[in-house]
């Protein structure tokens, strides 16, 4: 898999994960030894950028940089858990629908199409109204549960087309049972495509989470990038002159989406080699 897009995307993503995991400890130990930069009221609020506080302090008197680096990991976690949930559910349902024939397939297709058109944002908001105490896992699972229909929708036709290949017929004739056919014959060639869908699902979940935060209906108290952006907007930090407190989290989100987009493009090319030759016009 020597695809440059995938490699660049993975490197970008790995760097971000490193910052997310090591960032908080690194920042607090090198910049603020012996202090608690992530605690409310540690400093005077809304201090402008300085050597001490590279992107200033926020409205709660915390160091902006510290808040930023500790917001990355929860955001990524939500993306990963929600993406894995929706991809897992979607792949199972997509495989069942694609592998089954006749009435069961029709029924599954109608169900998938139905759930697909239900607008998720209002429903997510509804659930947000019911759940009193949010935590990261609850939120991720709910986001994931709403994303499966898209995955199932795109996996099903792929399974269907593979099922008709002659090598699958051969496997059936040589006496493999359906489970063996699914796991040994159908799943392996679809893995890059599933990776592609997984990456799309991560983007979708992170997008939805930050969107909820920004209209003020997110999981309050979850320190995510979306929450930092929303808080910055509400406290008009740009007008105060604290550009970094909004541009950094926004930039980090876009950076992660770009990395995932590169991985996607690459996985799509691996899965669908014809795409590369036609897009590059036979260079």
């Amino acid at each position: 898999m020597r695809n440059p897009s995938i490699i660049i995307g993975l490197i970008m993503l790995t760097l971000m994960v490193l910052v997310a995991l090591a960032g908080p400890a690194f920042v607090s130990q090198t910049l603020f030894p012996g202090e608690r930069p992530g605690m409310r009221g540690s400093y005077r609020p809304y201090q402008l950028d300085s050597v001490e506080h590279p992107i200033g302090t926020d409205g709660d008197g915390r160091d902006g940089l510290m808040v930023f680096v500790s917001s990355i990991w929860p955001s990524l976690q939500i993306g990963l858990i929600a993406g894995a949930t929706s991809t897992g559910l979607g792949v199972v349902i997509g495989f069942l629908a694609g592998y089954a024939r006749g009435r069961l397939d029709t029924l599954a297709r109608i169900l998938i199409d139905m759930v697909l058109v239900i607008p998720t944002l209002p429903l997510l908001l509804m659930l947000a109204a019911y759940i009193e105490r949010w935590d990261l896992y609850k939120l991720s699972l709910i986001l994931g549960i709403f994303g499966w229909s898209f995955v199932a929708r795109v996996i099903r036709p792929q399974v269907q087309s593979l099922r008709e290949r002659s090598y699958v017929d051969l496997a059936v004739l040589s006496g493999e049972n359906p489970l063996e056919i699914i796991f040994l014959e159908l799943l392996p060639p679809l893995l890059p495509y599933i990776g592609y869908v997984f990456s799309l699902s991560i983007v979708g979940s992170m997008l939805a989470e930050a969107g909820l935060q920004i209209i003020g209906l997110g999981a309050g108290g979850l320190p995510t990038l979306g929450f930092m952006i929303a808080k910055g907007f509400r406290e008009s930090v740009i007008a105060i002159g604290l550009l970094g407190q909004m541009l950094l989290p926004a930039g980090a989100l876009i950076y992660v989406f770009l990395a995932l987009n590169l991985i996607n493009t690459g996985l799509d090319e691996v899965f669908n080699p014809r795409l590369k030759t036609t897009i590059e016009g036979g260079d």
Partner: protein, 359 residues
Amino acid sequence: MTPNPSSRAAEPNADQQRAARREVFQYAVRRFGVYLFTLWAAITVAFFIFRLVPGDPMNILLGNLTRAEGRQRDAAEQEVIIARYRQIFGVDDPLPLQYLNYLRKAFLGGLDLGPSFVEYPAPTRDLVFRRMPWTIGIFTTSVLLAWFIGTGLGALIGWLQRSQLSKLAVVISTLLQITPVYLVALGLIIYVGYTWRILPAGGPYARHLQPEWTWEFISSLLTHAILPMLSNIIVIGAGFTLGMRALMISVLGEDYLTFARAKGLSPFTVLKDYAFRNALIPQVTALAIIVGATLNGTFIIEVLFQLPGLGTLFVQAMGLRDFNTMQAVVLFSIFAVLTLTLIVDLALPLLDPRIRRLA
């Protein structure tokens, strides 16, 4: 997909025409049937999701009321309030009965979705109808503009794929396409609206004006609409540009295009009649795919720009746990997404010259 330009000369006979017309008609009927069924099914799923989520909305309502009034009520008073609310919602009936009542009122009772709490006792229906023009206006205008701009630009940079400028355009479009629409909206509000003060970035029109048919009001309305629409157009337009570019490039690799060039047709004719035409059909299908996501994005944009649309209504309703109103907005979204997808699907055969010629 491959058209056969030379067959244009041969007129199809009457029998073929009739058969083709019947086929198109059958397609339309079948598609409409699927539409009605999906609409019913989606409404049903939404209804049950609303009823089956855990937690009692009555307790939340009561809690809200207590907070709003700043005093605790005694138990007897609470009982009365809850009983009244339960009656308004009809939640004492068994679930299947609630469902049938709901469908009956919604479809046979002239879209009666119950009273709203946001503006009690105004019916939910009236609220939704009053807010709808904002959402539909922003949504359709920006999607259509984005589609036209994106399709034009995409065709151009696909056609000129080897030039440096189009490579730059691809990079810029990719960056814009992956940027969440609300971040673009926030950027426009902060910079264009407040820092540079070029365009207004909050509210539907200037505060001192009243809705009326005067130039002052209309121009205020239009300038206030620019930034919300622009947020949508930038992100969706970039997506359409990339999509159209990929379609153009794959069409450009087809044999019939080489043949058209070899025949000595002018590059413009080849672009217009051969490449663009054939790339256009999947590009219209793409329009149907983005409808749902864009509606979600438009809801968020409304909230950020303080426009009195359905997204804002939903957020208000949520603050009061006004379930009738929330449900009405969800129903409207389902209806809008399905209907717009239906329109695109039905318009598709009209675009395809092979079908249009016969039908």
